[in-house]
């Protein structure tokens, strides 16, 4: 039996869309989840009913938090995202209302970086294609595997974005003997890699592009047709950031026309929709936005979220603040 009086003691947290069990289960013991998506009276009514007690929204990277929602919550102090990307949160509206926004910080960096390296390796060395060749029984039938890879050693790999994830990928990929370079808004003094001020210059001087910057208005379609053509026929694109960083329609065309060589993507423009043209290509590796998902990462983010929720209610400074 759950003692209802003890639940009342738990501080309320607004949840707009379902969270995964990995996150919900450890948190729901410590806070009172107000689930707007389960409200019988409908979301707007639900928000109105609880407006006076809601100080904090907890959300995933797949949850839009728009200006309208924020305007309905006069006591809102903070939006806590359990994701790295906060592109679905209206940051301007938050700033206007002095609502703070926090994200997952470095909780996922290591695993996302590992996954990015894995995608890069898979595309260059044809691992997924060769694995399905074996599983389909084609190896014993044909003997010779048609999937020939390309050596990593000496390849020029350009990073779009060099935050926690980008820096970790760069360090790992450098161990394969690749030549690293990057582009960011401003050059980083302490970084040993070559800097290019524009994405186009980066693409012209590299064999592989790894996209791992934040998605903003400015970075939407940062990898467009011109960038892919500059990368060229032998070029490979890896996207571990957010789908809209790449112009997906143009990527499909470039791959179909052989204007670039291959791609590895954990993210897409309209998830969970994936352009069907990709399904028939053995030079692309597709993944359902699962780069950060390990028990270790989720433990990190649960710990950080609990700390930040407690900080909100105790009026202590927040961790991993975005706005």
């Amino acid at each position: 039996m759950v003692d209802s009086s003890s639940i009342d003691v738990l501080q309320p947290v607004l949840i707009l869309l379902p969270m995964h069990d990995f996150i919900e289960i450890p948190l729901v013991k410590k806070f009172k989840f107000l689930k707007a998506f389960e409200a019988e009276e409908g979301r707007d009514q639900f928000l109105e009913k609880h407006a006076e007690i809601i100080k904090v929204i907890l959300c995933t990277g797949f949850t839009p938090v728009n200006a309208e929602t924020i305007s309905k919550l006069p006591r809102l102090e903070c939006v806590i995202a359990v994701s790295t990307g906060v592109n679905l949160i209206d940051l301007d509206a938050c700033r206007e209302r002095s609502v703070r926004v926090t994200n997952a910080g470095t909780a996922y960096s290591e695993d996302t970086a590992d996954y990015g390296v894995g995608l890069l390796m898979d595309v260059c060395r044809r691992i997924s294609a060769a694995d399905s060749f074996v599983r389909q029984g084609l190896w014993s039938a044909n003997r010779d595997c048609p999937y020939f890879g390309s050596s990593l050693g000496g390849k020029r790999v350009g990073m779009i974005g060099l935050g926690n994830i980008g820096a970790s990928i760069a360090k790992k990929v450098a161990s394969f003997g690749c030549e690293m370079s990057y582009t960011t808004r401003s050059q980083k003094e302490t970084v040993p890699y070559k800097y290019y001020p524009t994405v186009l210059e980066l693409a012209s001087n590299n064999d592989v592009l790894v996209v791992c910057c934040a998605l903003t208005k400015e970075t939407t379609h940062i990898v467009n047709r011109d960038v892919m053509l500059a990368l060229g026929k032998e070029g490979v694109v890896i996207n571990i950031g957010r789908g809209p960083l790449i112009d997906e329609k143009e990527l499909v065309k470039c791959l179909l026309n052989g204007e670039i060589k291959g791609a590895g993507m954990d993210v897409f423009e309209n998830e969970p929709e994936v352009p069907k043209e990709f399904y028939g290509m053995d030079n692309v590796v597709l993944s359902p936005h699962s780069a950060p998902l390990t028990p270790e990462s989720l433990e990190n983010v649960v710990e950080l979220s609990i700390a930040n929720l407690n900080n909100v209610f105790a009026k202590r400074p927040l961790l991993s603040v975005v706005v």
Partner: protein, 320 residues
Amino acid sequence: MENLGVLLTTPMNAYLEEQLNQRCKLFRLWDAPEEDQTGFLTAHADSIGAVVGDTKIGADAKIIALLPKLEIVSSFSVGLDKIDLQVCREKGISVTNTPDVLTDDVADLTIGLVLTTMRQICVSNRFVRSGAWKNNDSLRLTTRFSGKRVGILGLGRIGMAIAKRSKAFGCSIYYHSRSEKPETGYTYYSNLLDMATNSDVLIVACPLTEETHHIINRQVINALGSKGVLINIGRGPLVDEPELVAALLDGRLGGAGLDVFENEPEAPKELFGLDNVVLLPHIGSSTWETCKVMADLVLKNLEAHALGKPLLTPVSLPCK
């Protein structure tokens, strides 16, 4: 070397075949019907002075016995397990291989196997292509690699290159080999079982010899355990494959990434349906760049032999 008769054992590399065809007298073993290779070799025995073999068909005692004029075996591989080195030594036949040139490719692929196995990237790729993402919860937890304990069996050139890469992932590096290599700074285990017990990932990177045959047996697999991952990029017979299959099916082993198998080109069908394995058709060194370098090395060794010059990458043959 236009007078040198060269037996190519398999269609291993188009560029090498074309070069040999232009520069030597080329005999393709696969031109002969499988049941009459002996007849083919006997018919050309007087012309064949060199064998170019690979990881599939090399120069075993039977082939060598049929080729009395054989002077050199120039292998398009690092491994020498398909060449009867003892017979070569007795008959004064030189042997060359292609060391070093594929070290980096094999070490890279090893890390690729580790990441695709632990993070289940091939599974994700199949999942998205099946169209299931739309209908399904995609959140599936997989295993972290960075920072884990990596045990390397065999710390030769390839083992060292794997260690260097694993280090960039913040891993602890352990190794087991015949002798300790204190200069490396990595942790030595004189006992393979102890290393397996203490490793999250066990990477098999030693040569195949009589002593190392089935070195990964039931005990080692059990010591690695239900959360452990086995990676084999060495040779198939280093692992007792039926034991490996049983352990994976029983859940006694966490996962496996395999580039080599006991009976290539056969891989155990029982594994085809498993998500915690990655199965590759021996492509550790299969890159355009490396195969070109290997082919050039085979050609240069043959050329040096034809000109009576020192061989570039001779193999020292075992004393009796």
